[in-house]
């Protein structure tokens, strides 16, 4: 356990640690470009050079290991000059692109230059020009002029995505990132190269020129596209989701997320159905018309109350949050006890790899199981749905991956109550449609396949008519005589921690930034 001094402050760290890690432990900032905690050390940018008493020349803090008795200076005059000089070289051929660059505002180069140099240019000849807007893959575009050749993207493809697709070609000021001949940057994690690019060299095709980053509002949440549940940042502007970015979570996704998840938000931007709808069989023929939430709820209640609970079918989905699932469970335990339960949702045999992606393309299967385990509920697969002896079907969610025959079977049920968000096949068949909130429109928790409970946060303000599945379950339960009264998802979670053994001891408020990683108990 070597002990060293950094800027006069003593610290003891494990053997084999780097100076940068020791400085981080002390809260001393050492600027870096090429260093990334999730990648191997390259030490090529020279931004992190520090003075030590163990060598006559400055050493890269990200690479140099600590030694006992080492004295490190990160603020000496020589280091200040060094940083300024490094930045001068890096900026030598950098184009004057900030006004048209997506990265401006979240650019490490801007930050470091302003903080560690702020010196005028001394360049008096033409800048070296390289390729601009070069398409590397389906979602990544390279601006080689902006590149500082830190090789983070190259290392990412080699080490994390395990598909060597990028490399640096040519020499000196002609050096440039490019794909290997005949290859594209099309690995399923390619989008991460954009995240880790410290400058605006790699930009995302789906985000390019869409929003200036300083307008974005950010909420930390969970990607719902598979059972991994990567911790993400949802960036919104004008109440519309503009992009997902992975957020570091060592227990779930590390620093990364897959491209399917990254661009998945686009699937939710179109085709929303935000109005409660009721199918009318009046004398003028069959028609749908928009109505007030209460009217639609009354209609749904009437259908449910008129049927014997045994002649009611309920379709649930692993897209329910734990809280929604709990309230739905209460409904099934109480007024609808004895109803037939089917389990929908998306495929559970999708693409899987040993990086992040899971075969189960639903976010909360594990949570649903845990919440329902005490009710003895499991639910038959939705594909096995039968309309025989069924008067009313209550369908939660509208993203069930089912074949046409199941839809036909569902449509045979006289009363079809759908709680969904989109104008799709389920809306078409609904006799009563109740608009639901999307995952980024509500608070709650998801449990990933490893039992990590994570907070879902509202990043987008939903339409006033859209309510969560749990809210509808509560209102229907109340109308049918159940005692259900929760004001917030937090209330439900608190009830769940006493009612569901798997959640015992977990505090909702503690599921915040730091403990995005609380593990579900005996699930």
């Amino acid at each position: 356990m070597p002990t060293l001094k950094i800027d006069g402050r003593e610290v003891t760290v494990d053997n084999g640690r780097t100076i940068l890690q020791a400085a981080e432990a002390l809260g001393i900032e050492v600027p870096t470009f090429c260093y990334h905690p999730g990648l191997s050390i390259a030490a090529n940018c020279r931004m992190c050079l520090v003075d030590t008493n163990k060598s006559p020349k400055p050493v890269p803090a990200c690479h140099a290991q600590v030694m006992d008795g080492m004295e490190v200076h990160t603020q000496s005059e020589r280091i200040k000059r060094t940083r300024s000089a490094v930045l001068e070289f890096i900026l030598l051929n950098h184009p004057v692109d900030c006004p048209i660059c997506d990265q401006a505002g979240e650019c490490v180069l801007q930050d470091h230059y302003f903080k560690y140099s702020a010196q005028p240019s001394r360049l008096f000849h033409r800048k070296q020009h390289k390729s601009k807007a070069k398409v590397l893959g389906p979602d990544v575009i390279l601006d080689a002029e902006r590149c500082i050749l830190c090789t983070r993207c190259v290392r990412f493809c080699d080490e994390v995505a395990k598909q060597s697709q990028l490399d640096v070609v040519n020499r000196g000021e002609h050096s440039e990132i490019t794909t290997f001949p005949g290859m594209q940057l099309d690995n399923p994690y390619a989008g991460n190269t954009v995240d880790i690019c410290p400058v605006g060299a790699l930009t995302s095709l789906h985000f390019r020129f869409k929003t200036r980053v300083w307008f974005l509002q950010t909420e930390k949440s969970v990607c719902p596209e598979c059972a991994r549940g990567c911790t993400i940042r949802i960036d919104t502007f004008e109440n519309t989701v503009r992009r997902y970015k992975p957020h570091h979570n060592a227990k779930v996704n590390g620093y990364w997320m897959c491209d399917e998840g990254r661009v998945s938000f686009q699937d939710y931007l179109e085709g929303r159905m935000e109005g409660p709808t009721v199918l009318d069989f009046g004398p003028n023929g069959t028609r749908r018309f928009a109505t007030a939430t209460q009217r639609a709820l009354d209609e749904a209640t009437r259908a449910l109350a008129a049927s014997d609970a045994k002649r009611v079918a309920v379709v649930v989905t692993p897209w329910l949050t734990n809280e929604d699932a709990y309230v739905v469970g209460e409904l099934l335990k109480g007024p609808l006890a004895g109803a037939k339960v089917y389990r929908g949702g998306r495929t559970t045999s999708g693409t899987q790899d040993d990086i992040l992606r899971r075969a189960d393309k639903n976010p909360n299967a594990k949570g649903l199981d845990a919440v329902w385990s005490r009710l003895g509920l499991t639910g038959a697969p939705l594909a096995a749905f039968s309309a025989v002896n069924t008067d009313t079907v209550l369908i939660f969610g509208d993203n069930h991956m089912v074949g046409n025959e199941t839809l036909v079977e569902l449509e045979k049920v006289p009363n079809r109550i759908v709680i969904g968000a989109f104008k799709n096949a389920f809306w078409d068949m609904a006799t009563v449609f109740l608009p639901a909130r999307l995952h980024w429109e509500k608070d709650g928790t998801f449990t990933n396949f490893e039992g990590v409970v994570q907070r879902l946060r509202r990043a987008v303000k939903p339409a006033p008519t859209a309510k969560s599945d749990g809210w509808y379950a509560m209102k229907l339960g109340q109308a049918l005589g159940a005692r259900l009264d929760f004001a917030t998802p937090r209330d439900i979670f608190v009830a769940m921690t006493s009612g569901v053994s798997a959640f015992a001891g977990i505090e909702y408020d503690a599921l915040g930034d730091a403990s995005h990683t609380t593990l579900m108990g005996a699930a």
Binding site: L91, H94, Q119, W214
Partner: protein
């Protein structure tokens, strides 16, 4: 900073030799104090409450005086301010430090340049930033020009209150002549926004000195006319002398500064007591009054105009060509040719515009002698590009506290001249 011609007392500073400025006792035209009418008021009548303002033609600025009158004698007054509150301090919390400068224009809008300078001096104090010599001299010049326009307005309006329309026109003519020079320099008569944190928006224009000399001659001629019309005018003196009297101790207790304090005989001027910019390098007199009445305040302002001209002359003589902005790109925007043509300038510009000048966390009080007295800005910074909290000390806020003792017991007709010599500015008092 080296390379400059030896200015008088160039080594002087806060810790250097005493400043060159000296105090002079003013000469008054009246003889014995007149016994006030109030003492002879034998016609006691039923008390009457009169609301004067907030939109009264004779109160320059929106404020209300709830007067309790016994005949024509003021028994009590309740002074109410706040009609021109704009939330300067709160707005400053969401603006970058440079974005506050236009808000500062609107404090004392008769001498906006003093506010511009006062604000940036406070911010620069928090930054620990020194600006080039030329910038300091230019700031002094514009401050003194603003002081003159401020005093001319107070003097002219004071004469107008007493029916002297001609001196009012003369004073305002002089003010406008100076504001023409200000307009040529900054682009606006009042909404100047001329200073920047770390420097100025731009240098003086080519023939500024020539224009200033012409204007100075014009203003001094007008001032001589005013002086002849007012200073020894029996009617003016009778109405001003021994009216609105406040003693030195009371004035200090209320927090008076500026001409209103000096008129009571207290020799205090921030420019001398705590010299900022290069005020320790210039020679000027600090006029001091006798008894703190309207006449003393009038005389103080008249004399200070001459002294301000003297200061400007010395600044113009002492200043040399050179940069006007600090070279620190963490504070001052790079020149436009650097912004548009180099990535270095572009980044610095981007960061300064998007995030503002980052002021180290801490608190600071910056002070200047503005037209009405000590204008202070108290800034608390959390290290970001926007102030966490700003408190402005407007000089006339403290002075307005003294209005009640100054007018209670005197005649109703004395309200307006007294209110004028206090020189309350709505934009400044309400912030």
């Amino acid at each position: 900073m080296g390379g400059h011609a030896p200015a008088p007392a160039s080594k002087a500073g806060p810790s250097g030799p005493p400043p060159l400025a000296k105090s002079t006792r003013l000469m008054r035209a009246d003889a014995e104090p007149l016994k006030h009418e109030a003492e002879h008021n034998i016609f006691h009548s039923e008390l009457m409450t009169v609301a004067m303002g907030p939109s009264h033609p004779a109160t320059h600025g929106t404020m209300q005086m709830m007067l309790t009158l016994d005949g024509e004698t003021i028994v009590d007054v309740d002074v109410k301010i706040g009609y021109l509150h704009r939330g300067f301090e709160k707005m400053s919390e969401v603006a970058t430090y440079n974005q506050v400068i236009p808000y500062a224009d609107r404090l004392n809008y008769v001498s906006p340049l003093c506010n511009n300078v006062g604000w940036v001096l406070a911010v620069e104090k928090a930054l620990g930033l020194d600006v080039p010599d030329r910038c300091k001299y230019i700031r002094m010049i514009v401050c003194e020009m603003s002081r003159i326009t401020d005093h001319l307005t107070a003097i002219g309006a004071g004469a107008l209150e007493l029916g002297g329309f001609t001196p009012f026109l003369y004073a305002i003519q002089g003010r406008e002549a100076l504001w023409d020079v200000v307009e040529e320099l900054t682009g606006a008569r009042m909404t100047t926004s001329y200073t920047r944190v770390g420097g100025l928006r731009h240098d003086l224009y080519a023939d500024f000195e020539k224009r200033y000399r012409e204007t100075r001659a014009e203003v001094e001629k007008l001032l001589r006319d005013c002086d002849k019309l007012l200073t020894k005018n029996r009617i003016f003196v009778d109405r001003m002398a021994n009216v609105g009297v406040i003693g030195a101790e009371d004035a200090i207790d209320f927090g008076f500064t500026g001409p209103c304090l000096r008129s009571t005989g207290v020799d205090y001027d921030v420019r001398v007591a705590a010299p900022y910019l290069h005020y320790s390098r210039v020679q000027f007199d600090v006029p001091v009054g006798h008894k703190g009445d309207n006449y003393d305040r009038y005389l103080c302002r008249m004399e200070e105009i001459h002294q301000s001209f003297k200061i400007i002359d010395q600044c113009l003589a002492q200043m040399e060509p050179g940069p006007i902005n600090s070279p620190d790109w963490n504070v001052v925007l790079p020149p436009k040719e650097q912004v548009y043509n180099t990535i270095e300038g572009m980044i610095a510009h981007f960061k300064l515009i998007m995030e503002g000048v980052k002021v180290p966390a801490g608190e600071v009080y910056g002070y200047t002698e503005a037209g009405n007295g000590e204008l202070g800005f108290y800034i608390v910074s959390d290290g970001s590009g926007r102030p966490w909290r700003v408190k402005c000390r407007p000089p006339c806020f403290a002075i307005m506290q003294g209005l009640k003792p100054m007018i209670v017991g005197s005649s109703m007709a004395d309200i307006i001249p007294t209110f004028d010599t206090i020189n309350m500015i709505g934009g400044e008092i309400d912030r």
